[in-house]
Symmetry: C2
Subunit: 340 residues, 2 copies
Amino acid sequence: MGFGRPSQPATTRIATARAGSNIAFIKYWGVGDVTLNLPLNNSISMTLGDLYTTTTVEWLHPRLLGADEVSIDGRVQTGKAAERVVRHLDRIRAQAGSVDRARVVSRNNFPIGSGIASSASGFAALTVAGCAALGVNVERDRLSALARRGSGSAARSIYGGYVEWERGTDDRTSIAHQLYPADHWPLLDIVAVVNAGEKAVSSEDGHRLALSSPFNSARIGTLPAALSEVRAAIATRDLQRMGPIIEQDALAMHAVMMTSSPSLVYWQGGTVDLINAVRRWRTEGILAYFTIDAGPNVHIICEEAQRMPIMERLRALPNIHQIIVSGPGDGPRLLDTHMV
Amino acid sequence: MGFGRPSQPATTRIATARAGSNIAFIKYWGVGDVTLNLPLNNSISMTLGDLYTTTTVEWLHPRLLGADEVSIDGRVQTGKAAERVVRHLDRIRAQAGSVDRARVVSRNNFPIGSGIASSASGFAALTVAGCAALGVNVERDRLSALARRGSGSAARSIYGGYVEWERGTDDRTSIAHQLYPADHWPLLDIVAVVNAGEKAVSSEDGHRLALSSPFNSARIGTLPAALSEVRAAIATRDLQRMGPIIEQDALAMHAVMMTSSPSLVYWQGGTVDLINAVRRWRTEGILAYFTIDAGPNVHIICEEAQRMPIMERLRALPNIHQIIVSGPGDGPRLLDTHMV
């Protein structure tokens, strides 16, 4: 390679970080500024303690590693997935003025193809490990801004517990902050995995279509009141107050998706069966509410007392491939750093 | 009975009328004036030739029949269903200044509980038979206005073929008219019956909730352009032009339903499976588009050449209880009138 810092000694620096995925109660859908990944609206989520990505980043001098290498869940990545990670490595390199190459090894503790979004935890862990290994020492809110550039929802996974991502107006202000730590409210996210297939349209592409829906601006218009209700409901641990708002916003987001051009239907039949089931269960006294990300799986939000009755009912339903449960968790953790 | 016209001889007058149901391409959803049943928007439909209601109305002097009697598909009606018919009989009586009582016998040629809307064909046939039997001789557009009072979409079933219902501003102007007769374009409506159960919320009640959705006014805002496209597509028999518009409006209507307060989810799992299937079939070269009324069943709109490949594919899917096919049909027909 004809560039780099040939006068420096070859160094190898490694860091490993773990970050939780998150489930949004008020969804991020629709990107305003594509380059900076500025969202059209604030969002609120719970960082998941039991569904996480563990990522090791090893920086090497270009003489030792000609190009970035990315492995996710044991598979070497190529094409779009690899390019997305490399673009993020470029952002981390830019922070340190480095031209080193990275060897990235990332593992999700939730099954591949379970339909659980791994980009939030993945880009949060990549940001934390990549920066630490390269000696980029910045405040947490800068990590949130940096993670956002990789994947919008990763901005939230930089914090634990209950988190709000402020839309902001530029790279500096579009960052998340913690509303309450994980131990404030031990909610559960019971994920009913309906379909483990790949999405036809990635959420990265979908975000750009939001503005083409006639419903997008109406949804955005409802959010100040919805965000305020969800913040208040989290503050007072009031699921009955929060539940109807999060169901409404999940349906509203999917309505925006379905009516965008082209129309995006992320649901499968099992998705709607579960929507109807959760609502039926409530009439039977089971306090639980659904939310749905950009995919077919249904996240059932409840408290511990409802875990068993819900698990029993889910097991009795057809077309559910898998059930995964997580409580809230802490922010990213650096497991290991060393310099060789 | 202490009222009536005791000086008149007791007469019995009978008429039988048949009217087709219809499938809307641009949906009627949301009522502005509840008393007059004025809709929030124009709608366009195809009157169905093969799915119809046949209704006999027999008027009798109150001395001979103490109260209206209503039978639908062999079952004597009581409660809300009967009251709704009696209110419509009152409107017909008011046209003639009559106090006679009616014996109404109505039969649908499509299976009870198939989920196919019977109120459009039912109130159209009731209006035509009831007026004819009572000697109320009015223009077709007055019958459309009168039928509208019974059930909004019945205003459209007063005409055959391709029909537009003008929203209008009062009882006189909120009427349907024919765009093209049935033989203009032999489209097919292949109805995939997903669930034959009763709706949890009737569409009559649902119409009143439309204004509570944050998306309602945005949907209404898209309709002038959508109506104009559908009119033009029907004029030129261009299914590829019409199809995307009707899918979009069906999804938009259901989005309004799902985001109203309370939220109405008329879909079942099978509904979404069929949405995805129809779109998949198009990538296989099958020109067909879906629309969905206020219920779980999916109406697949296509031309004759696609009938067989679609039927084969539908038969291979699970969770489809029934498949019913109809082409376009003529307006209501008076089968029989006589005076006893």
